[in-house]
Amino acid sequence: MSRAKLKGLGIDLPTFPTSTVGSFPKPDYLVEARAKFAKAKIERKELEELERRATAFWIKTQEEIGLDVLVDGEMYRGDMVAYFSELMPGFEQSGLVRSYGNRYYHKPIIVGEVQWPGPMTIGWWRYAQGLTKRPVKGMLTGPYTVMDWSFNEYYPDRRSACLALARAIRREVEVLVEAGAKIIQIDEPALSVRPEELPFAIEAMHLVTDGLPAYFIIHACYGAFDAIYSQMLKLPVDNLDLAISHSTLNLMEMFRRDPFTKDLSLGVLDVHSHEVEAPETVRARIEKGLKLLPKELIWIDPDCGLKTRTVEEARGKLVNMLAAVKVLRAESGVN
């Protein structure tokens, strides 16, 4: 069903479309430049030039590896929520809050009406898409996660904050679609933290995606899927991206109870491990997925963004992922 939608959008993908979740490791020169920029030792223009260089590197690398649906690699983002909250009116930064050990961060505070400030990601999407003929995904953080990872001093409750964010994020989706993005991924890693709030998270996703001509993927990272799985099927998106590489969930049992109705991106690489998984390991993980769903519904990707790995680890993992996919495509008689 979703494959027909993709064809309608002018995108023809092979069996087992391959992609990544969004972030790639920043090359050393960019890490250094970001530190210098934070200390006001270089100008924004200089930083942006290096961000463009790193983006071009990753587009080329993804093409060489053979991925089907590319990402810009988020070379210009630090944190997936802070990037947006720093651009959107209505937010301030809090004082430092501890995350673990000796790690602290500035958590955004919603202090006024959140607004769309004008395009936040279009420039980077256009730049990345201009470097390749393969489709590049539009990448946004979803309203529920932005709400959950912020303090809220303005809206009366979490639901109203989430819905207000959804209305602002929809504007960004609209301009991505206008700019030509056909595949848009919404990241919602916080989605499973409070199962009782899933109904308004779904309501928010309707505000973000309804009526817009794009193929939508939701990336939900790790979490209590068993508690929320059946409700997640109500999310108005075409593709659910689930981390299964080291999942102990009995997906088979869950799918038997409530048949899966969307495309499924199988997160088959463990991004939190330094180990470059062998093609056979990846293949076994994909085959686990093939027992659950017909091959037409399955996409293949890592289980989260690769930004915490080294450039070589990220590349090595993806090369082996593609090797496994190539064998499976050959075996199922498609190329």
């Binding site: 809090s94 995350s99 000796n102 959950d148």
Partner: protein
């Protein structure tokens, strides 16, 4: 009806001013081996003194050491027991805070007091009584990975942690602790295990001496468990009011046989709590509470907030009580 102002437990260990960041710098220096453990400890002690003072100045009757020496609420106690190894990071409930997960690798044994020295050193620098906070056996067990074949299931791990905590509570009471808070947030996620927690607390309570025991629940709605909790062997029950629509009405209607720690100040959001809303709840509920003293506190530890906001929240607590007293 006496209502004391109490800090819940954790407190932000750094602030945004350079002086308030000395612990963060010292932590990094200690990790790099640039300062000794003794020097690091002295900086921790000075930060505890500073935050104990901050709580007293805000007008609190009961302070905590802010758990400044703790890596997190799970691994601090569990990691000091024989038989436990400490593993990687795991998200702590629905917060953006991560704990290190204990692995039950062998027989769990209490080697000696973990918190007694912490209690003594905080009390030595505090103008107010120090409340001791420990994470309860059920929550410790829920966050643990079972590797050892000595234990078969969750109840057996709970029993092992209960043995250790019973000895710890006995040592704390002997050291003079007058109020010991046992945190069991996990029970709200698994209400079916209330009997397990009750049995564990019975054992702990048998060694509490003259100390009062306060069972703290948070990060969930306690209303469905409220009736069963009334029969628990503790002196006071602590609730997080930010997750529950019904709790305030329930207490006002049913009353309480035990003192209550009213977690009415939101420990998870920087928005300042409205005095009027809190007063309304206290005025309805307090007359129906039989145990005394009760406590006004935050919904959970204050470490989820930046330091400046945590301090304002403590002051708001004091303002609420002053207003309550003014209205008679």
């Amino acid at each position: 009806m006496e209502l004391l102002l109490a800090n819940h437990g954790s407190y932000p260990r750094i602030g945004d001013s350079p002086g308030q960041q000395r612990l963060r710098r010292a932590y990094a220096q200690h990790e790099r081996g640039e300062i000794t453990s003794k020097e690091f400890d002295a900086i921790q002690t000075s930060m505890i003194q500073e935050i104990v003072q901050e709580q007293a100045e805000a007008g609190l009757d009961l302070v905590t050491d802010g758990q400044i020496r703790w890596y997190d609420p799970i691994s601090h106690f569990a990691g000091r027991l024989d038989g436990i190894k400490i593993n990687g990071l795991l998200r702590f409930f629905d917060t953006n805070f991560y704990i290190r997960q204990p692995v039950v690798a062998d027989q769990v044994l209490w080697k000696g007091p973990v918190l007694v020295e912490e209690y003594r050193s905080a009390q030595a620098v505090s103008p107010k009584p120090v409340k001791v906070v420990v994470t309860g056996p059920y929550t410790l067990a829920r966050f643990s990975i079972l590797e050892s074949s000595r234990y078969r299931d969750l109840p057996e791990i709970v029993a092992a942690y209960t043995d250790a905590l019973t000895k710890e509570v006995e040592a704390l009471a002997a050291a003079g602790a007058t109020l010991i808070q046992i945190d069991e947030p996990s029970i709200l996620q698994h209400p079916g295990d209330a009997g397990l927690v009750k049995a564990a607390l019975s054992r702990i309570a048998s060694r509490k001496g003259r100390a009062r025991l306060l069972l703290a629940t948070y990060f969930g709605d306690a209303a469905p468990l409220y009736e069963s909790l009334q029969a628990f062997p503790v002196d006071a029950l602590g609730f997080d009011f930010t997750y529950s629509r019904d709790l305030a009405d329930l207490i006002a209607r049913r009353g309480s046989d035990k003192a209550i720690a009213f977690g009415l100040i939101d420990g998870r959001n920087t928005r300042m709590d409205r005095t009027e809303e809190i007063l309304l709840i206290l005025q309805r509920a307090l007359p129906k509470v039989k145990g005394s003293p009760s406590y006004l506190t935050s919904s959970c530890g204050l470490e989820y907030l930046p330091r400046d906001k945590a301090q304002l929240k403590l002051k708001r607590m004091a303002a609420v009580r002053a207003e309550l007293a003014g209205r008679g």
